[in-house]
Amino acid sequence: MTQQGVRWTADQVLALAPDAASRKAGSKLGAAGPWSEAGCADEGTVWGLCKGSGSKPYQTVVDIADAAGPAYKCSCPSRKFPCKHALGLLLLWAADEAAVPPGQVPPWAAQWTAGRRGRAEEKKAGDGSGAPSGSADPQAARRRAERRAERVTAGAVELEQRLVDLLRGGLATAEQAGYGLWEETAARMVDAQAQGLAGRVRELGAIPATGPGWPVRLLEECALLHLLGRGWLRRERLPDGLAATVRSRMGLPASADGPSLRDHWLVLAQYDTADPRLTTRRIWLHGAASHRTVLLLSYGAAGRAPELALPVGLSLEAEVSAYPGAGQPRVALGERFAPPAPAAIRPPGMTTSRAAARYGDALREDPWLESVPVTLDRVVPAPDGDSWQLADADEDAALPLTPTARSRPGLWRLVALSGGAPVRVFGECGHQGFTPLTAWPEGPGDAVALC
């Protein structure tokens, strides 16, 4: 099943790098010089010996066909993952067919891949047969869930009280109260195991410093927080889908138990956001047959990239299953049937008016939604005072770019790609505007990552 298919592009390989330093170090090793006995096999193994500063070369092997994403093994002492040797080897493989020719897997590499795949098979078999682990005592589990719900309820009630106090005294006082008030409230919500509330509360604290118009934004966020708290307290009376949305917005754990959907998934975008404790990776996928756009979330500890990496422009055949909540795009990746391979398909696009309406519709299912993923067709990036917008090529309508998008270097790649002509752009469209993530030229050409 695992034909290796077309070799990846260098960009796609570099997207696997955990940080900029590794990208740079890997690039330098992506030439034939230090490598010897390199090769690749049809089942998706790439291997090679890389001369380092020591007398013994490093043994590097990558399994690109693994269902859970590329797996790496290198005898170097680096703690980066993948290390520069693995990146360099993949770059060489991507660029130079002669340097990494098809061949017989050497024993040292075969041993490792066989071991890995064996373990993966065992794990899969184990998952399939037995009952879900950790639920040996359903009664105890239910009691735990009830206790947690009680604590979250207490948190929601307390937050509601604080919001009422705030509104009674006026938002103007919030500007003077500063960050401390919100940090303390957020800490209380963490204690109450309501992570979703804690995160929103922390963001409230930053709003008074965001410049003109902050009272409007603060009132909006307070009102949505209030709406979420009330939604939780009355969740029994909500429709199932909305109740599930409220639960997930409150930060309660859920598992992706939706029906699985098998499709050829085109990787639309991959980007990381980092806070001091956690790196969050978002990967947007578009189903070629289902036309669904779904989101994979994965996490890495601070300073470490999440392991799942799907470079933009590749497509993979796989099953995904949705997390609960009406209209939620988040899915979990299930079985993969083929390793990711380059694909020339593009998602169909729409006008800016349709995109704005799409966001409005989605709020019906989830009023807390910041944005929805959409692909705009035939839009032209145009300067608009200090800002930029994406203007429809064929009608007098435009979406402004979000402040985040304006400060990214990707903006200029988008402008350069367009050159004043229409382009197709995938991104997130919401009440703050549009954040472009990937673009395609009007004519033939590869996807250009903007984030």
Binding site: K28, R168, G169, S353, L399
Partner: protein, 559 residues
């Protein structure tokens, strides 16, 4: 985005304003619109605000489009092959690291390869992928040495981008005419108009472009306004005649010899002296000849250089020797012909004048003047009274200015001669310039011979004028010399300059010859500690870089 126009029965924008005002002041001070005051007022306010917030967000509509930018001009060049485009992205992603020392590890320095990559891409006439332009412009902004090649490669869309981003304005300045396209040179009216009305930079660009195509037309254009131009501008315009200089330019240059501006006069004289058939060159020849003669009566100063005379006397032990009688004054005629009367501090006036006369005299003069000897024979003649340095240096300048290969060869001498490595009558800097007048193969062969005889310590400057990639004999000589330096036990960073040049200039096909040097050798007793390992690393980097360059060239279709 703009807010939608509200439905008829909706509270609308006024209601939202009311909610915001109340929220700011607090419900204790103000009652929210449409509710009763009291304990529940904040909750009522939050309820209403939540409804309004979702309503406002759900009702968002696109904004009106701003004025769209003019489309970027078409780039007619073919697109880069995909592999080359990926390579470019990689070269641009590499930023010079903080380490500045000679120990650079075994990995190639990609930033050093960017200039070469750009030159190859420009030579093949490829257009860049548009999405690479921001990184390309950033690279050109940070490195002025890259600018011309980077901007040429970046093409018209980069200038279009530069108008949209203040960080890249330099591109508009760096491109002649501020990015404005030159008129078709066949379009006489447009050419005339730009020449009459254009900015200085545009006019220089126009003149240079015209000169490279039709030298005479450019000169005629310049002549139409010459009398009214400012002195600094005249100097710049005159300088553009350097390209494609020919005998036809003589009348115009003669006229410029009478210019009001001293620098203009000097430039005109310099250009005329590069035309051996010009009247100025003839006048200078007469003056120079008066200063230099063969003295048959002089006895050889040093037996080592003694050439036995073949003159009519035949049997005397005396050797023909060049006698120099430097000018005693700088007359107005000399000044008019561009001789600068005032010597710089520390130089004698007479030798200063002599140097200028000899430099400006056609080299063909000397064979006639000095008994029909060839340049090689003339250079070999002893010079009396310590004038050799002055005389040979002036001949060097003349050979470079007149691009005379035969004289250059004579003055360069034999690369393996002991004085070639200095100090000699001709300095290394002068040798480098003389090499510039020779063909690429001959140049490389001379430098190869020099390195074989004198090693690498003085070779850097000479290697700099050799064509890239180096010829096989030159590359072989450099590698052999590095190998010798390694065996001598010194550290490789004493040779980091040459090593860096080798990474950029050695022919990629030489990589296989280096394989034997990659191993860490046994350390000789007198070697610097650990040097062998560092040498292996340096050769490793050299080989890796050469392989990378071979891959780069192949990707660009320039095998």
């Amino acid at each position: 985005m703009t807010r939608t126009s509200a439905p008829v029965d909706a509270p609308g924008a006024d209601a939202w304003e009311g909610l915001v005002t109340t929220a700011l002041l607090g419900t204790d001070r103000r009652t929210p619109p449409g509710t009763a005051p009291g304990r529940d007022a904040p909750v009522a306010l939050l309820d209403a605000a939540a409804v309004e917030t979702v309503r406002r967000r759900a009702g968002l509509r696109p904004a009106r489009a701003a004025e769209r930018p003019q489309p970027a001009p078409e780039d007619a060049r073919p697109a880069l092959p995909p592999a080359a485009a990926r390579r470019l992205a990689m070269l641009l992603a590499d930023r010079p690291g903080p380490s500045g020392g000679g120990r650079r590890g075994a990995a190639p320095d990609l930033t050093e390869l960017l200039p070469q990559w750009l030159a190859a891409a420009n030579a093949r006439g490829f257009a860049p992928p548009p999405q690479a332009l921001p990184a390309l412009l950033d690279a050109a902004r940070g490195r002025t040495d890259l600018r011309p090649a980077a901007l040429e490669f970046a093409g018209p869309r980069a200038l279009w981008m530069a108008r949209l981003n203040a960080d890249w304005r330099f591109a508009l300045r760096a491109t002649p005419g501020g990015g404005a396209a030159l008129p078709h040179l066949e379009d006489d009216d447009r050419v005339q108009q730009l020449w009459q009305e254009g900015l200085f930079a545009e006019r220089v660009a126009l003149l240079s472009a015209l000169r490279s195509r039709e030298p005479a037309a450019a000169r005629d254009l310049l002549a139409t306004t010459w009398a009214t131009e400012r002195a600094e501008d005249r100097l710049m315009f005159l300088d553009s005649l350097r390209a494609g200089l020919g005998p036809d330019d003589e009348p115009f240059l003669e006229q410029a010899l009478a210019d009001r501006g001293r620098n203009v006069r000097a430039t005109a004289a310099e250009l005329l002296s590069a035309l051996p058939g010009s009247a100025l060159a003839a006048r200078m020849a007469v003056r120079a000849e008066a200063c230099v003669a063969i003295d048959h009566l002089q006895t050889a100063q040093s037996p080592g250089t003694g050439l036995v005379s073949k003159g009519p006397g035949g049997t005397t032990k005396s050797t023909p020797t060049i006698a120099v009688e430097a000018p005693h004054e700088c007359d107005p005629g000399m000044e008019r012909d561009g001789v600068v009367a005032k010597a710089p501090a520390g130089r004698g006036e007479r030798s200063w004048w002599l140097g200028q006369l000899v430099e400006a005299a056609p080299l063909g003069t000397w064979s006639r003047r000095l008994g029909g000897r060839t340049p090689r024979e003339i250079v070999a003649l002893p010079v009396a009274d310590g004038w050799q340095g002055e005389l040979h240096a002036a001949w060097c300048r003349a050979a470079v200015r007149q691009r005379d290969a035969e004289w250059s060869r004579a003055l360069l001498g034999d690369p393996s001669a002991p004085e070639a490595g200095g100090p000699g009558a001709v300095s290394l800097a002068e040798r480098a310039k003389l090499l510039g007048t020779l063909g690429a193969a001959e140049r490389a062969a001379w430098v190869a011979g020099f390195i074989a005889a004198h090693g690498l310590s003085e070779a850097f400057q000479l290697l700099g004028v050799c064509a890239v990639p180096w010829t096989a004999p030159l590359g072989g000589a450099v590698v052999d010399a590095l190998n010798i330096a390694r065996d001598a036990g010194s550290y490789p960073w004493s040779f980091s300059g040459v090593m860096g040049l080798a990474e950029r200039c050695l022919a990629p096909s030489e990589a296989s010859r280096l394989d034997a040097l990659l191993a860490v050798p046994d350390e000789p007793e007198n070697a610097s500690p650990g040097a062998g390992g560092y040498w292996a690393e340096a050769f490793q980097r050299l080989v890796t870089t050469l392989r990378l360059r071979a891959a780069m060239a192949e990707e660009l279709g320039a095998a």
